[in-house]
């Protein structure tokens, strides 16, 4: 399990991370999402050991990666957004070089490289110079390079940027394959839909702080909960209003174009009970719809980048 505890990092007067705390479970495919300048890359560089935090701890399976540099290097495989390519080397030479930076040489290194190149589907490209590869291929090679020492944690900064749809799909497949092999993967992106497709867990970062973190299902539940239930009744409107007002799960209620707009905190079962209450009280309900949740709109709301200043504003 990766735990970030009260991480602080500033560049001069600019505070990049402010008491950032986060827990990523073992085997998670975690997406760190946030707008540009939110602190994603800083967080990733701190976890990778490229920078040191001003304050705070980074623990992986209870080992402090800030203090245990050697453990950090063994634990982490890092793929930066600038891929880090030597144009003057072939794919195989590139892998041999990085294998040697981990002390892997000779037959063991060659065997390992062959396995990794096969895993990323690049066996036939091993004699290609790196500048002859597409961005997608380079990205896959970098993932293979990051796996050369069999790290438990793979960190990728904006892995999908600059990739065409096919390359994105292949990357997604590769990451999910790694994840199913037991690796914990942490990736950053500013595109929420991309992360929600790939990841099992999501954290939204803004202003150097984690605003929300959890599994994709939990986040989606919150997104759904943030949208109102639209109810259209054909009779007994006053009775319906009373039922809705008396329901403890109803947070906000408004009327719009003949629809009751109900901001409801409950889950699916609670929604069903509400509908049952209405029907039992002889209210004819013609429509009972939860507005579909959009991660993008939720992301914009929580990161305060829309005109709506508060997610759940009191409308009456």
């Amino acid at each position: 399990m990766l735990e970030l505890k009260n991480l602080c990092k500033s560049y001069g007067r600019h505070i990049a991370l402010s008491n950032l705390s986060l827990t990523i479970p073992d085997g998670a495919l975690y997406g760190l999402v946030g707008p540009n300048g939110a602190g994603k890359t800083t967080a990733i560089k701190l976890i990778s050991g490229i920078m040191l935090p001003d304050r705070g701890e980074i623990l992986f399976d209870n080992v402090n990666l800030v203090k245990e540099e050697r453990s950090a290097k063994e634990t982490v495989g890092y793929v930066p957004d600038v891929l880090g390519i030597y144009d003057d080397m072939t794919v195989f030479e590139y892998m041999v070089f990085f294998a040697s930076t981990y002390g892997l040489t000779g037959y063991i290194a060659r065997k390992k490289i062959e396995i990794l190149l096969e895993q990323v589907g690049m066996t036939d490209k091993k004699d290609f110079y790196l500048n002859e590869l597409s961005r997608g291929m380079q990205q896959k090679l970098c993932v293979a390079r990051a796996l050369i020492h069999d790290p438990a944690l793979i960190i990728m900064d904006e892995p999908a940027s600059g990739l065409d749809p096919r390359a994105r799909y292949e990357l997604k497949e590769l990451l999910q394959e790694l994840n199913s092999g037991g690796k914990t993967v942490l990736l950053s992106s500013h595109i929420l839909s991309e992360v929600s497709e790939i990841c099992t867990d999501i954290g939204i970062i803004e202003g150097g702080k984690i605003i929300i973190s959890g599994s994709v299902e939990e986040i989606l539940d919150k997104v759904e909960g943030a949208n109102p239930i639209k109810i259209k009744v054909l009779n007994n409107e006053n009775s319906a209003l009373e039922i809705l007002k008396n329901n403890k799960k109803v947070r906000i209620l408004s009327v719009d174009n003949g629809y009751f707009m109900v901001y409801f905190d409950g889950r699916k079962l609670d929604e069903a009970k509400l509908l049952e209450d209405l029907v039992r009280n002889n209210v004819l309900v013609s429509e009972f719809i939860r507005e579909p949740g959009s991660l993008e709109s939720f992301f914009i709301k929580v990161t305060n980048h829309s005109n709506e200043s508060v997610i759940f504003s009191n409308e009456y």
């Binding site: 540009n36 890359t41 050991g49 490229i50 930066p80 390519i85 080397m89 981990y102 020492h149």
Partner: protein
């Protein structure tokens, strides 16, 4: 034996690139050209006068020693200054720092690979220097001392280059910084000395002039070219001890210079290690603008 991965990579890449072979060709062409022109002059003189002036061969020796130095001063910085900044620009420095390589091993690898490349160039011109042995006048001891002096000069140049590269975000800035540093060390120290000597000659009782000349002499001790000139002067029988310093300093100049320059090189390399080591604000400033 584990070979430094950076050294191995750089060596592999440089040996198959055109850059090194072109450098060897141009270097040897220029050194051989100067030597042949000078030798032609000696032979021409012998034809006309029916006598051979052996000191002329020593002049050729001076050329053979100084031409590579001058060439290195002019061409070397462009070879050296990208050592760290190119890695940073490519994004590979960050990756290397996440591997088991330490900042120290990265700097050492870069140093060794540059040293090897430059030494290959210099060794390739040894046959030209060897011509001079045919005519005598130069002992093995002289050659050893000059070679050591030359190696120290190369070590210092590379160390300064790696340091400039480690503090610069762009290779162009690193190159400019290195040229400036070279200018200060090789020319600036001499200019300072001549200014001090001039001031001292005008008024040798003035306290400021005395301090100035002493300080400038000490600074001059860092200049490997002065040390090289002293060695050559000794070989050629030109006693310049009275020109610059007392006999003690003159006799030990070579050793003191070697000690000071090697110490300076170690300091530059250590500072480079500190500079690229993962830490706080400096990395952001020079390394990456992304948050």
């Amino acid at each position: 034996m584990n070979i430094n991965p950076i050294y191995e990579r750089e060596h592999r890449v440089s040996t198959r690139s055109l850059r090194l072979s072109t450098a060897i060709l141009v270097f040897n062409f220029i050194v051989a050209g100067f030597t042949l022109i000078e030798m032609n002059g000696v032979v021409d003189y012998a034809r006309k006068t029916s006598s051979i002036d052996y000191t002329s061969f020593l002049q050729i020796f001076k050329i053979v020693v100084f031409v590579p130095v001058v060439l290195l001063i002019f061409v070397g910085p462009s070879f050296i200054s990208g050592a760290i900044s190119d890695e940073r620009h490519r994004g590979t420095l960050e990756i290397l720092l996440t591997t088991k390589m330490t900042a120290k091993s990265i700097v050492v690898g870069k140093f060794l690979s540059l040293m090897a490349s430059i030494m290959i160039i210099l060794v390739s011109q040894l046959p030209i220097s060897a011509i001079l042995f045919l005519y005598g006048g130069i002992t093995v001891g002289d050659i050893v001392k000059l070679t050591l002096n030359f190696i120290v000069f190369v070590v210092l140049l590379i160390s300064m280059g790696i340091f400039c590269s480690s503090i610069s975000r762009k290779t162009s800035i690193a190159t400019a910084l290195l040229y400036l540093a070279v200018l200060i060390l090789f020319v600036g120290t001499l200019v300072l000395y001549f200014l001090a000597a001039n001031s001292f000659n005008m008024n040798d009782k003035n306290f400021f002039s005395i301090v100035f000349i002493k300080v400038s002499k000490f600074i001059l001790l860092f200049n490997p070219l002065v040390s090289m000139d002293f060695l050559l002067s000794k070989i050629m029988g030109e006693d310049s001890s009275d020109v610059l310093v007392s006999l003690f300093w003159y006799n030990n100049w070579f050793y003191i210079n070697m000690f000071l320059d090697l110490s300076l090189s170690v300091i530059f390399l250590a500072l480079s290690v500190v500079k690229i080591k993962p830490h706080g604000k400096t990395w952001r400033k020079y390394g990456n603008s992304n948050l």
